[in-house]
């Protein structure tokens, strides 16, 4: 499974990309593959303040609805509206156009997240 080096990961299979003072969040390649064909997403409204670990979005495949947890606390800046009409982007480009939302992290240095190699190690059993 693909786990890019420049991202941080939550054990619950979300990724976080920090750029300047914003963070982009999506689900990992492993998660999209396990869910298979995503058919519906429910995304947060901008301005919402979220705590780390809080349920912030839902991704639904044919077989299941799965909660998405905020990998860090912060304020939602925008959601990826393209997913509403093309939720399959999450499967095709989990680390690219399939991102879920951007937020302004409450702290510049996120804690409690895993590096690429540490996250990859959680997938091997």
């Amino acid at each position: 499974m693909n786990t890019p080096n420049d991202l941080l990961y939550a054990k619950s299979h979300e990724w976080l990309r920090i750029e300047k003072d914003s963070g982009t969040v999506g689900i990992t390649d492993h998660a999209q593959s396990a869910l298979s064909d995503v058919v519906f997403v429910e995304l947060p409204k901008s301005g919402r303040v979220v705590k780390q670990g809080e349920v912030i979005a839902t991704v639904e495949s044919v077989k299941a609805a799965s909660d998405i947890y905020a990998p860090v606390g912060g304020t939602i800046l925008e959601s990826n509206e393209t997913l509403t009409s093309d939720p399959g982007l999450i499967n095709r480009e989990p680390y690219g156009q399939g991102w879920l939302f951007r937020l302004k992290p409450e702290s510049p240095k996120p804690t409690g997240l895993l590096s690429s190699s540490d996250y990859a190690a959680t997938l091997t059993h």
């Binding site: 619950s12 998660a31 298979s36 064909d37 077989k63 299941a64 799965s66």
Partner: protein, 389 residues
Amino acid sequence: MFYLGWKRFARTLTPVLLDLPFETMLAPISESPLASCHAALSARMIPFAGWNLPVEYSGLLAEHKATRQAAGLFDISHMGQIRAKGKDTLSCLESILANDPAKLKDGEGHYSFITNEQGGVIDDLLVYRLSPDDFFLVVNASRHSEILQLLKKHETPRVRFSGNPGTAAGMALQGPQASVILNQILQGAHLPPRNHIAKFTLFGASILIATTGYTGENGYEIFSDIPTGLKIWSALVEAGKPLGLLPCGLGSRDSLRLEAGLPLNGQDLSPEISPIEAGLGMFVDLNRPRPFPGRPILEKQKKSGSPRICIGLQGQPGQPPPRHGYPVFQGDKQIGVITSGVPSPTLGHGIALALVTTPSPACGQDLEFEVRGRRVPAKVSPRRFLPKK
């Protein structure tokens, strides 16, 4: 989210049978007799009703579409195959089954129930008559041991039941190309008509082929010993490949059966839900004198109505899909709960079966179901969501 997702999936498919998170695969789990075939096809496996079974191979949507447009091949070795033999078989089964097995001719099968004294469903099953004193029953994996035990209590020297879990192979070949593919490996043998069963010899072994299924498509269910099953699986995959056949997992099996309005025991049926409430009263035969468990209650429900009834619901594109357990509302009043729901791959919107109080809303009426605290519109519809083939 991954584990939670799988936990929900396990719930979605099997709320009563199996409420295991994905990580508790350490519980005793039997491997399918066809496990080597699944491994060769890199299937994703999950625990289901005590079995380790493929949930998908190439992707649920692709498998669903292949079954609707060409053919799908499903491992159903986990389903319980029970043989009932002896001079008293028919009269014994008549006293247990809700549909009357005396109606069956040789080579014919029908859908039936084993009910409890309250009229609730212990299991739904297919009953085939091979000859006047030889019947073949196909029961759910989760109820196999329980049903076999229940039947064995009725054993006498004139009726015997056999068929332990894990001792036979079964597969379902479903879809518009199913008969073409099966004919290729049977080399022109005459296949039985719908809802019938016949014996064939294949790879030197005696097998049973029934013209039945759980997808709403025309197709076959093939029952054999394990070594022969391995050969048949590979031969069907090979013969079907040029025609668009895909091996299919439990994921597409669930979305296909729900589009066809077919119930899943443990969700749409349970010991607390009667066949009448499930809308399947036509498979409860009361035009015969013989009692069977729950008969008086079922008789009353058939005559004067049941307190609840199963209805179909159709959602809208762009709205969250209905799922098992979501409450159903008519105005401000909760009138029931969704027993099975899925985003329909064929229709492009959510479909569901819901158990609601009677008098139930008529077809076309607007209802709502609740998803994560939000109301979502749905229309009452016939339970069969796709036209009958």
